[in-house]
Symmetry: C2
Subunit: 186 residues, 2 copies
Amino acid sequence: MAKATIPYTDYFKETIQRMREDGLLLVTCDASGTPNVMTIGWGAIGSIWGRPAWLVLVRPSRHTYSRLEEVGEFTVNVPPKELAAAAAHCGKVSGRDHDKFQEMSLTAMPARQVRPPVIAECVVHYECRVLHRNDLAPQTLAQAVHDEYYPEDNFHRIYYGEIVASYAEEDAARRLGGPTAFATLR
Amino acid sequence: MAKATIPYTDYFKETIQRMREDGLLLVTCDASGTPNVMTIGWGAIGSIWGRPAWLVLVRPSRHTYSRLEEVGEFTVNVPPKELAAAAAHCGKVSGRDHDKFQEMSLTAMPARQVRPPVIAECVVHYECRVLHRNDLAPQTLAQAVHDEYYPEDNFHRIYYGEIVASYAEEDAARRLGGPTAFATLR
């Protein structure tokens, strides 16, 4: 099915819903173009510096981190529910010693504007170019968050990506779960 | 008209649209509860640390900045189009020497969960408690953004607010402009 260009705000609700359920697939690549994918459960979408923006959090220990530092571009891909196992796997193992695309039969499809590919089996795609990055400031982090997520002080780096393309399958809304599934979210 | 609780993701599209058109109204208060309002044109909404989040950018030169540092709570209010003049005014003058609520006939209505009030005349409201803040890192900012927005190196601080309540007027969608108005946005 064709992937049609959409305003980047169109699937916010479904994107956040899927991010909280199974996670989204963040794809990066190294300078030679070899892609890697990891699962993200946190992020934000908005408009910053007059530009559409996707903010993602990546820990320095991640394979993705070195790729983002090397090639400042990424894609965020929203998996349909049938990719739940792939999302779980991509969140568990590292691209250092796993070819997650192959292991989970994910198809790397060339992106429109950036070097990292998108994942063909996903239904909504955001292509992003990093405009900025900064780091969590541990001393200003709420204690409850620090205790819960950073017991080893492995703080995230935040990447501010300008969304340079966004598109979706025509039946994306249906495949990502309708309003009923979403009503329980908060 | 009653303001009904909504999932925080419900009015994302309209919120971003209004942020880009006239701006949103960011309300803070000092320790004594005196409110101040400023207009914001940038921000992001998402889910971070398993919590609904609103990210706002505030320059240290702003009156709002000292309030956010003192009372780590804020509300984001989405103005209908008829408040365009108020949004413009609140973005131009400082709360140091202006009572913008009075000047623009804005009604400070007690919030449900945080100390700063919401603005009764607005139609969607997000109440937020700051979980974290960090600063832009000038050395990693895209040159085009630096040149365009920070010629005087007056860099923003980014506040990560947990959304602790969100609600809207029942006719919010209509009052914020329907799909037709939004179709042109990107």
